[in-house]
């Protein structure tokens, strides 16, 4: 089984090595060196860093050290002999150590600030403000929370029919027929993946420019994200349906639409309902966060009081949010359990 790597596997292994080599050296040069050798004036220009990084990457690659081993994800058989093995293990440890140390530096971890007396006094102030909420604003808080819950509800209700329809062309098993069908499937899936990987908060920023700050912008943002993720969940469920009923309904001479409706949908309704309720639950949380960037509801109210450093009021809002989210979470879990 030795040395049975294909060209692709070798290239992959070398590429992994180059990336790891470049990573190791650039972290050493750009993070650890300036931080640990605290004499910025003595630093060489960055250009040396880049050149040396490239050289280091190449050296690492010719050693074929780790890539082949990590590349075993792609290959079977022995990747290395004893000597190489030792080098690989040591390099692996060095990489881990360097990563942790530079991570510490980059994230500015500072225990002295965490435990400084001034810091602790500040923490004490905010915590005591939070636990002594200002209930004068309770009615405003509740109506903002209702707004948030409705933003979540409306966005879910609007997203469901769209997701339901899109789920069929997004299901691989239904789109195997022709080249055109496969193309529609691939384009739709790629598009949905892109939409889904943009967080709702980014969509909220976009829509707050489009339709103006407020609950409508927040709702649109959630609709877009919900359609993308529900379509994915629904279509994966469709891909899981049993073939038997599809054959049986097709055998009666049913049209494709009838096959979908009578053979596929009945197998999916319960999971679809369950996903939808779960998604509404998520949307309540997201609608809160979206409020921070102008999506309306309780999130917007919270940023306002936070901006004014009115932490007693913030405390009220936090309590309302926590309670409502918790209650909805319990209810949605109950309903989903009952649906099983």
């Amino acid at each position: 089984m030795r040395n049975t790597f294909t060209i692709v596997q070798r290239v992959t292994a070398i590429a992994i090595d180059i990336a790891l080599g470049a990573y190791l050296f650039s972290v050493l040069w750009f993070v650890l060196y300036p931080a640990l050798i605290e004499n910025p004036s003595a630093q060489l220009p960055n250009i040396y860093g880049y050149v040396l990084t490239m050289l280091f990457a190449c050296a690492f690659a010719t050693a074929g050290a780790l890539g082949a081993s990590l590349g075993r994800l792609f290959v079977t058989g022995k990747a290395s002999n004893g000597m190489r093995r030792t080098i690989q293990i040591h390099l692996g440890w060095i990489l881990l150590l360097v990563t942790i140390v530079s991570g510490w530096i980059v994230t500015d971890i500072s225990p002295s600030e965490f435990f400084s007396s001034e810091g602790l006094r500040g923490a004490g102030r905010i915590f005591s403000a939070l636990i002594t909420p200002q209930f004068d604003i309770i009615s405003a808080a509740l109506s903002a929370m209702v707004e948030t819950v409705y933003i979540a509800l409306m966005s879910t209700i609007i997203a469901v029919p769209a997701s339901f329809i899109l789920a069929f062309p997004a299901a691989r098993n239904l789109m195997q027929g022709s080249v055109a069908a496969r193309a529609v499937y691939s384009v739709l899936r790629a598009f949905l993946n892109i939409v889904r990987s943009m967080e709702p908060i980014i969509w909220a920023i976009i829509f707050s420019v489009w339709v103006g700050i407020g609950p409508f912008a927040g709702m649109l943002a959630l609709v877009v994200h919900t359609v993308a993720s529900l379509t994915k969940l629904y279509s994966e469920q469709i891909e899981d349906v049993k073939e038997g009923p599809i054959e049986a309904i097709s055998a009666t001479g049913a049209s494709q639409l009838q096959v979908m409706w009578f053979a596929i949908v009945p197998q999916c309704v319960i999971p679809f309902l369950s996903f939808t309720i779960y998604r509404w639950d998520i949307n309540v949380r997201m609608a809160t966060i979206i409020g921070f960037v102008g999506g309306g509801g309780i999130g917007t109210l919270l940023t306002q009081y936070q901006g004014l450093s009115k932490f007693h009021e913030v405390g009220t809002l936090v309590i309302v949010i926590t309670l409502v989210v918790w209650i909805l979470d319990v209810i949605s879990a109950r309903i989903r359990a009952a649906l099983q």
Partner: protein, 255 residues
């Protein structure tokens, strides 16, 4: 006499390159009760599906009532399928729906999509569906959920769904393989009645030779996608049995 089903030189290669059928020549006449036997993987299911075109043959021609249906598509394919009932080993009912609804789905091939989706089946169709349930003796279960029934009852509902099509031909793909011996005979008896009393031609895949001897009017044996035997049930001698199922096979009885 013109045959109801004619397969000439039919072959099928699955998209992954696997050849399931080769050069099948088979003519089935109206009124026959044809049983197809053969080892698992010999191509029995594929052959049945070439007839109602759940599978499109890659070679040869299939004709039904004298019409070439080998590569039919669209509405003509729906019409072709609606004339042929089919039942399966796993019944393939819509478990969450009622027994009566499942029988009504036998009419889908002759109902337009939109009205059927809105549940608008005619009173006449409903009456026919009840009639079909009476023929298989479970009219009293019409309101139950299909998945609440026993295996034998579910297969009878599946037969009723096929009867709803008023089929000229009934395809049965191992209809009793998931049932116990007594229930198996119950289901086979219904197929026999449909064949004898209604004159519906039946093509049925079976595993048990004892059932074959009892119900078949003609037997075809497949081996690796080729027809190796075509004759009457009593003609399957021990020698043929070994030829079809392999040297080490022992016949198992089902009573």
């Amino acid at each position: 006499m013109q045959s109801l089903v004619s397969l000439s030189g039919v072959g099928h290669v699955y998209p992954n390159g696997f050849r399931a059928l080769s050069n099948i020549n088979l003519h089935v006449h109206t009124g026959e009760f044809l049983v197809i036997i053969g080892l698992s993987g010999s191509g029995k299911s594929t052959l049945l599906r070439c007839i109602n075109r759940l599978v499109e043959p890659t070679e040869g021609t299939v004709s039904f009532s004298g019409v070439d249906v080998t590569h039919t598509t669209g509405d003509a394919l729906r019409m072709h399928r609606s004339r042929i009932g089919m039942i399966f080993q796993d019944f393939n009912l819509i478990g969450r729906h009622s027994v009566l609804d499942n029988v009504l789905y036998g009419a889908l091939g002759r109902t337009r999509s939109l009205p059927s989706i809105l549940g608008q089946f005619s009173a006449e169709q409903r009456a026919k569906a009840r009639e079909a349930l009476e023929i298989v003796g479970i009219a009293e279960k019409q309101k139950s959920r299909a998945d609440a029934l026993s295996g034998g009852q579910q297969q009878r509902v599946a037969i009723a769904r096929a009867l709803m099509q008023k089929p000229k031909l009934l395809l049965a793909d191992e209809p009793v393989a998931s049932l116990d011996p007594a229930t198996s005979h119950g289901v086979m008896k219904y197929l026999e009645r449909i064949n004898k009393e209604m004159g519906t031609t039946v093509i049925c895949n079976l595993h048990f030779l004892s059932l074959v001897r009892q119900y078949a009017s003609r037997v075809v044996a497949l081996k690796a996608g080729v027809i190796v035997f075509d004759g009457l049930p009593p003609d399957i001698t021990d020698a043929w049995f070994k030829q079809i199922y392999g040297e080490d096979a022992i016949e198992v009885e089902i009573r």
